[in-house]
Each structure stands twice: as C-alpha cells, then as structure tokens.
C-alpha cells in the first residue's frame, strides 16, 4: 500500500523522474566568522541510503541542518528537486528529520506525536488515523497508539520518532545520529531495520554518524567529512579498499599506514623491501604512503612471507587476535588473525599485491578519480 502510493507520487510530476533530488553547489557555512563548512559539492539521488560520516565537529550535522532548512548557507546554492531552496524554511520542505534526542512531544501520546505533521497540514481525521497506524506498523509499533512518551524505552522512542517523520511521506528522510543513544545490541538490530525500512519506502535516507562500522553496514554511499570538507565519497567498499588519504584510511577501519616510495608503476618499496602492487599513475621515485589492512596480513613461520616482524603485543578480541609487530625499519604492523603468536616471537607476514593500497600525499578526491580513470583506461587497451 505504502509502496504504491510512494510510486504514484514519484510519477506524478515531471521533475520527479529526475534522478538527482538534492544538489549542493559550492556550499559554505560560517558562524561568527568561524568556517564550519567549506566548498561542499555533492548530489543526492532518489531512493538511496547516504551516510555523512566524520568525527564530531566535522560539519556533518551542519549539512543535515542545511538540508532540513534550519540553516541558510553563507555561500553557494542548495537545490531540491531542481528548485533553489537556500531560503525556504523547514516547514515548507519535503524532508523530515529524526533527531538525535528523538525530540518527541512529551505532552502528546504516541498517536498524537505521529499525527502531529498531518494535523498541522490540516488532514481530515479519517485520513489521519489510517496513516498513523500504517506508519506505526512500519516501525513495528502496532498497538502502541495510546502509550505515553514517558512510558517508552529508548528503542521505542526511536521508532516513534521515525514513524512521526515517515508518516508525512517525505522525499528525503534525515537521520541525525539516531542510534547513538541505544545500547550495542539494539543499535545493531536497528541498523538492519533502518536499512530494510529505506528499501521498503524507496525514499532517500541521509544518515549522520561518527560510527564507521554503522556507515559501512548501512550505506549505498558514504561521504567522509573532516574539518568542514568532504574528504572522500563513494560506496562503503571503495572507501574501505581505496582510501584517498591518511585521514580516511585511519577513520574507516583499522589500518597500517607506512611511508614508502613508488619505484615505477606497480612496484613500490617500503620497510626496506620492494613489492609488486596494483597501483599506478605515480611519478617515478615519488614518496607515498602505503595502507595495508590488518586483516590482510597473514601469519607465517619465521623466514617465510614478505616481511619479518617481532611480536610486541597480543590481545584476544573475540573474533580474532590483534597483534602488533615491529619490522627491522621500526614500522609497527597491526595484524588481525585467528591464529596467535606469542609476545617476543619472530614471525613472517604474507600479503597479496592487491592488499597494498598506495596513497599520494595531499591528493584530492578529483585528482584521485582522474588518476584512477587514466590507468583503468590504459588497462583496457
């Protein structure tokens, strides 16, 4: 029922068929002379799950508030459905927000909280009731209509907040760290539910989080933000496998970041040795940074593998052991493995050429994409 209505709504107008729904064009935001966002450019497509990921203070919530209309950009333009919306107030936008602290109205019960937006828009009572029930059904809260907000658990409040937002059938749902107040188990369950909900509703979700695991698990596309600018955007896989710089590599997952030198295409030297790799498009003898994920390092007996290290620490992490080894050059290597090695033990490390990811110093996302395209084209020849 819901799906059907959503689709009919999409096909209703001409601009609806357009793929892009939100566009940021050179958007900057300053508060009292302090720059929060600088030169933000991106496009948001219909029906996808986006995540804005970054440490606190990186500007991710500011982007969300710009989309919701709580803030106006200091520079640049924001378009929604092809229309300039820089100065459109939040109550006139087709987006709804799920707030971090839920922001449920304590003087209203569950039904009235969910019905709030519909009542504001003066819908008839007989139309409101089925829609509220439908929204509550969507978040698995059937039969909770008459509960008071104070009597709900954190997870239930979260669901009410989501129901209150989706009942208005927004084109875009904004979620501002909605899971951060929940405990780990509930959080994981809600991640799965949110992703399913997004697929069923078929609308765009923009999710803000500082939790990289959450971002990797849920998104179609991730924007990694740092100090008010987008460091990298792409699918979780591409961001994880090919971080463009030290910040992204460090922020997304664990990584070993080691200085090295690019000898020529597909040959790199680090830790005093030369290795084959799959990266190209660098200058000869260019100094670079190497990323190898800890899970890509395989334990071998001493003397075997590509590198020799001495184990300095070992922790049992449940799924795997986490070990830190030091090589002859003094580089530290974090290793995740189901096999363990004793502290002080000398071991060999093996890794595939594909496990090596080479990063150019100070490379921007555009340069990175250009370099990638150039040698992907070369491969096809």
């Amino acid at each position: 029922m819901w799906q059907g209505r959503c689709h009919s709504r999409y096909s209703a107008g001409d601009p609806m068929t357009e793929k892009t729904i939100i566009q940021f064009d050179h958007v900057a935001k300053r508060f009292d002379g302090e720059t929060i966002l600088r030169d933000i450019n991106f496009e948001i497509e219909r029906g996808k799950f986006y995540t804005l990921l970054g440490p606190s203070g990186c500007g991710k919530t500011t982007i969300l508030r710009l989309i919701a209309g709580f803030l106006e950009p200091s520079e640049g333009t924001i378009t929604f459905d092809g229309q300039l919306v820089n100065k459109i107030p939040p109550n006139k936008r087709q987006v709804n927000t799920v707030f971090q602290d839920y922001a449920l109205f304590p003087h209203l019960n569950v039904f009235e909280n969910v019905a709030f937006g519909l009542r504001i828009n003066k819908l008839a009572n007989k139309e409101i009731e089925p829609r509220v029930k439908e929204a509550l059904h969507f978040v698995n809260l059937d039969g909770y209509q008459n509960r008071e907000i104070a009597d709900l658990s954190g997870g239930q409040k979260q669901r009410v907040a989501i129901a209150r937002a989706i009942v208005n059938r927004p084109q875009v749902l904004l979620l501002d760290e909605p899971l951060s107040a929940l405990d780990l188990k509930l959080r994981t369950a809600m991640q799965v539910e949110l992703r399913q909900l997004q697929r069923r509703l078929g609308i765009t979700f923009i999710f803000v989080t500082h939790d990289q695991e959450e971002a990797l698990a849920m998104s179609d596309e991730i924007f990694v933000l740092n100090q008010g600018k987008i460091e990298q955007s792409g699918s979780p896989r591409s961001i994880y496998d090919e971080p463009i710089n030290r910040f992204v590599a460090d922020f997304i997952g664990e990584s070993n970041i080691i200085p090295g030198t690019m000898l020529r295409d597909r040959v790199v030297s680090f830790a005093g040795k030369t290795f084959d790799c799959v990266d190209q498009g660098f200058d000869e003898m260019e100094s670079v940074e190497i990323v190898i994920r800890p899970e890509d390092l395989e334990l071998k007996p001493q003397g075997e593998g590509m590198l020799q290290v001495r184990v300095e620490s070992q922790l049992f992490r449940g799924v795997h052991y986490e070990m830190i080894g030091k090589d002859a050059d003094g580089n530290s290597w974090m290793i995740h493995s189901t096999k363990s090695a004793q502290i002080g033990e000398a071991i060999g490390l093996f890794f595939e050429p594909e496990a090596i990811h080479v990063m150019r110093h100070g490379e921007t996302e555009e340069d990175f994409d250009r370099r990638l395209e150039s040698y992907e084209g070369a491969d096809h020849d």
Partner: protein, 269 residues
C-alpha cells in the same frame, strides 16, 4: 535512630506551631462572644454575620477579587511573553541583563515600588483608584510569572521546536502546539502565584488606592487602626480559608498535569 526521628518530628512541629499558631489564635477568637482576644466567653457566629451584613466590605471583597483575577490573567500573558523573550535572547549578556532587571523587581521592597508608582501615576495623571491598583498589581506580578515560566522553558529541549518546524509547523503553531503545552505547568504556577500576591498585597496597594477604592488588606489595616473588632478576625479567617482553597486547587491541578488526557483519534483497542 528512632530517637533521632522523634526529635526531628518535634522540631518540625515546633516550626509549624510558630508559623500557624498566630493564625489559629486569631481564628479562634473570631468565634468569641466577648468581642475581645483575652477571654473566651462563648461561641458565636455574630462576627461573621457582621462581616456579611457590611455592604462596604462586600464591595471591597469583590473589588479585591476582580483586581486579583484581572491582574493575574494579564500579568500571566505578559509574563509568558517576557519569559519567551528572555529565553529566545541569543546573546548571553542581554539575557543575563534582562533576567537581572526582572529579579531586581522581585527583591526590591514593596514600599519603594508602591511609592514610585504613586509618584508615576500622579505625574502622568492617572487617577488613583481601580486602574492604578490594577496597573501596580500587574507590574509586580509580571516578574513572578517570568520567574515561574522561565525554568520550564529552559527544561524544554530546543530540538522540540526544530522537530515541530520540521513537521511543517509555522511559528504560531510551534508556540501554540508545542511550547505553550510544554510550559503549561509553569504558566499555572505563575498564575496562582500572581493571584495570591495580588490578593494579599498591602504595601504597594496602600500607596495607590486613593479615595473611594480599597482592597481587603488595606481595609483591614485601616479598620484595625480604628479599634479592635472581632469582625476583622472573622474576615481574616475567611481570607485564610480562601487562600488555603487556592493552594489546594493549585496542588491538585499541578499534580493532574503530569497525566495527559487522551486526545480524540488515539482511541484504539
């Protein structure tokens, strides 16, 4: 442990005895046939009859209640907007300044406020009487309302306003459907405080009543000066009981506030 408990109970009883004994003493002699407060000779309702047959007094009681209700309603409206203004002031300096200006009125002596009103009203030519008393009462009640409403506003999460805007509410809707309902307990508290302050204010009223218009406390004062009549005791007893009733109404209504009534449309099995 038990002993400690007993002592603290005794202490508590002593405190309340000191607070309430004078009132009960006065109430007790309002039933005295002898017409004085030294010898209780017999029980009578005569003094109450005297109060109720005193036409002038009845008019004053009605005037007092009208002034109290009008001033508390108007000052509640003004006070709520005042509190909102202070709450919405972004600059910390201005906020603190406004709040201090508000609090100064609370702590400054009634005599000074009364005298300054007298000077002001004569200066700008407002005739002393009903209007002057009403204006003075509104003026000293507004800071009380602000002080009762502001904590409720500060308790409110600012994202509630964002959420309402996000759901399509215009500014007026935000105020009427989210902010006002949230701060209603504070508004009621402010209203009842203003009501009691107005009902029993003497000092400020004394300055601005003028001829022909009087409120209860001013009237009781002038009668007590003329000579002791037990009808004053009877009147005071009545006022005390009315005040008690207001306090009880406030107590039960504020307790009931926590329970939200079910709104139409929400009923479902």
């Amino acid at each position: 442990m038990v002993k400690k408990r007993t002592w603290s109970t005794i202490y508590l009883l002593c405190v309340f005895a000191v607070l309430y004994l004078p009132i009960f003493y006065l109430m007790f002699y309002s039933f005295n046939k002898a017409g004085n407060m030294t010898h209780f000779t017999g029980f009578t309702f005569d003094w109450y009859k005297e109060v109720f047959s005193d036409k002038r007094l009845i008019v004053i009681v009605i005037d007092t209640v009208i002034v109290a209700l009008l001033s508390s309603v108007l000052s509640t409206v003004l006070g709520v907007f005042g509190a909102l203004a202070i709450y919405l002031t972004k600059r910390r300096q201005y906020k603190n300044m406004l709040l201090s200006l508000n609090n100064i009125l609370m702590v400054s002596p009634d005599v000074i406020i009364g005298a300054s009103f007298l000077i002001l009203f004569t200066l700008i030519g407002i005739k002393l009487g009903f209007i002057s008393v009403l204006l003075a009462h509104i003026a000293f009640s507004v800071p009380i309302v602000v002080l009762m409403v502001l904590p409720k506003l500060q308790e409110m999460s600012p994202t509630l306003i964002d959420a309402a805007r996000d759901l399509g509410a215009k500014r007026l809707d935000v105020l009427l459907k989210v902010v006002i309902p949230f701060i209603t307990p504070g508004i009621f508290a402010g209203f009842f405080m203003a009501l009691t302050y107005s009902l029993d204010d003497f000092a400020v009223t004394f300055f601005v009543t003028g001829n022909g218009f009087s409120t209860l406390s001013v009237e009781i004062y002038s009668r007590a000066r003329q000579g002791i009549s037990m009808s004053i005791n009877a009147l005071s007893t009545l006022i005390f009981l009315i005040t008690l009733a207001i306090v009880l109404v406030y107590y039960f209504s504020s307790r009931g506030m926590g329970k939200v009534k079910h709104l139409p449309g929400g009923e479902d099995a």
